[in-house]
């Protein structure tokens, strides 16, 4: 039992890393990672929301009617996001400033809704909390790594400390939007290469299998539309 709980916790950190393996939550990943500290701030905020919403949704899983579960999940998540938003504003205004609109946008972060739908609504409380914690740590670690890479290359600093800025001219492009896409692409390529070495499937599309909108999307595939779901639906016109 203990080892099962441990594997649920570590699952989100490496094997099913939400950013690199499931490819969820791409918007905040690209937007806030201009500095390592932003990555930590965003990651911790999302982790708190993730653990709390997983906890509550898991407790309520037998009471929420199936048909309205998505709106119910969104309401629960939005409640916790508001709480975290107020806490961040009150205690770390600098982080609030740099995360800006992406702090309230945690509400539509696919990772949280996906974990509610895929895990918390089907599992007891303790595993759900551990799943939320694991996914949150995986998200935080990836965002911090990406923030560190972009900060080091783009500004020559790391967590605000000058590292290479004095002898290498910083490449500002890494702090700009193209640099975000580029670094993310390279990170996914590296994670794919590592996965391949271990004989695991590489990520070719967005995380459709874990997409909270998959139910709607599957219908879409039979009508011959969004192709990103072809892996799930199987048909390609």
């Amino acid at each position: 039992m203990k080892s099962k709980n441990l594997s649920i916790l570590t699952n989100g950190i490496i094997k099913e890393n939400p950013v690199l393996r499931l490819v969820l939550g791409t918007c905040p990943t690209l937007a806030v990672t201009t500095a390592a500290i932003n990555g930590i701030g965003m990651g911790v905020a999302a982790t708190i929301v993730l653990v709390c919403s997983n906890l509550v949704i898991s407790l309520l899983r037998n009471f929420i009617p199936d048909k309205v579960r998505i709106p119910a999940f969104i309401t629960i998540i939005a409640g916790f996001v508001s709480v975290v938003q107020m806490l961040v504003k009150a205690f770390t205004p600098a982080i609030d400033e740099s995360l800006g609109i992406f702090l309230p946008l945690i509400v539509v972060n696919c990772i949280i809704l996906a974990r509610a739908e895929m895990f918390a609504s089907k599992n007891p409380v303790l595993p759900s909390i551990l799943d939320g914690l694991g996914m949150g740590i995986g998200f935080t670690a990836t965002l911090t790594l990406m923030g560190a890479i972009r900060e080091l290359l783009g500004a020559g600093t790391l967590f605000g400390l000058t590292i290479t800025a004095e002898f290498i001219d910083p490449m500002i492009i890494f702090l700009l939007p193209p640099g975000g896409f580029f670094v993310f692409g390279i990170l996914v390529a590296v994670s794919n290469a590592l996965a391949k070495k271990q004989g695991k499937p590489v990520v070719e599309h967005l995380g459709c299998a874990n997409c909270p909108s998959r139910a709607a999307c599957k219908n879409a595939v039979t009508d011959g539309a969004p192709q990103e779901c072809e892996k799930v639906g199987g048909s390609d016109e």
Binding site: V23, T26, C27, P28, L30, A31, I70, P71, I74, T75, A78, G79, V81, S82, Q85, M86, I101, P104, L105, V107, V108, N109, C110, L113, I173, L176, P177, P178, G179, G180, F181, F182, F184, G185, I186, V188, A189, N192, A193, V202, V203, E204, H205, L206, C208, P212, S213, A216, C217, N219, A220, D223, A225, P226, Q227, E228
Partner: protein, 194 residues
């Protein structure tokens, strides 16, 4: 401020300099997911634009007359619920009354509820302190900017299909790098309209 100039400035900013996807990183999921073919990219972006404008038309008065100044902390909860309701209503309305449009766009609508571009633009309108008219223009321009980015990117991706890509970049990595290059080209617009 001269209102015509500000309308033009907002349109230019939303479409080119402050493009929703390529410089604000909102709506990356559909940008990467539904951009494999030009016609699906077009339908998705029309649906997003439509929802953005209608959502702004509803959330702006709610914020200004109901939530402000005592209940602003409810913004996140109220906005996401209003957007979810609007998307459902649009879907039901189109299904019942305008069948051809429903057939073309209906399948994309459920995907839009959790699209951060829609929630993002309604919140940005409030943060930027725009009035009702300019908020609608801003939503429209963000939608058009989204459309432009989607269609351009769909064009780039259709070229990628036949390109000779290094093995380790195949799939998502090359898509992201292509997006980086498209974003780079949009950097060239920086400075237009001040």
């Amino acid at each position: 401020m001269n209102s015509t100039t500000s309308i033009v400035a907002i349109l230019l900013a939303g479409i080119l300099t402050n493009n929703m996807v390529l410089s604000k990183f909102l709506g990356i999921c559909p940008f990467l997911g539904v951009s494999k073919k030009v016609n699906t990219a077009l339908s998705m972006s029309i649906a997003v634009t439509l929802v953005m404008v209608i959502a702004t038309a509803v959330t702006w008065p709610i914020y200004t007359y109901l939530l402000y100044p005592n209940f602003t902390y409810l913004q996140t909860v109220v906005f996401i619920l209003v957007i979810a309701a609007i998307v459902q209503l649009i879907e039901v309305f189109l299904k019942k009354f305008i069948k051809p449009i429903y057939n073309a766009l209906g399948i994309y609508l459920p995907l839009i509820t959790t699209n951060c571009a829609v929630l993002g633009i309604t919140m940005l309108n409030i943060t930027d302190g725009l009035n009702f008219g300019l908020s609608l223009v801003n939503a429209l321009s963000a939608g058009l900017g989204f459309m432009l980015a989607m269609i351009l990117f769909a064009g780039v991706r259709s070229k990628l299909e036949t390109a000779d890509i290094p093995e380790f970049l195949k799939g998502l990595p090359i898509t992201l790098i292509a997006a980086a290059l498209v974003a780079l080209s949009f950097l060239g617009f920086a400075g237009i309209g001040g």
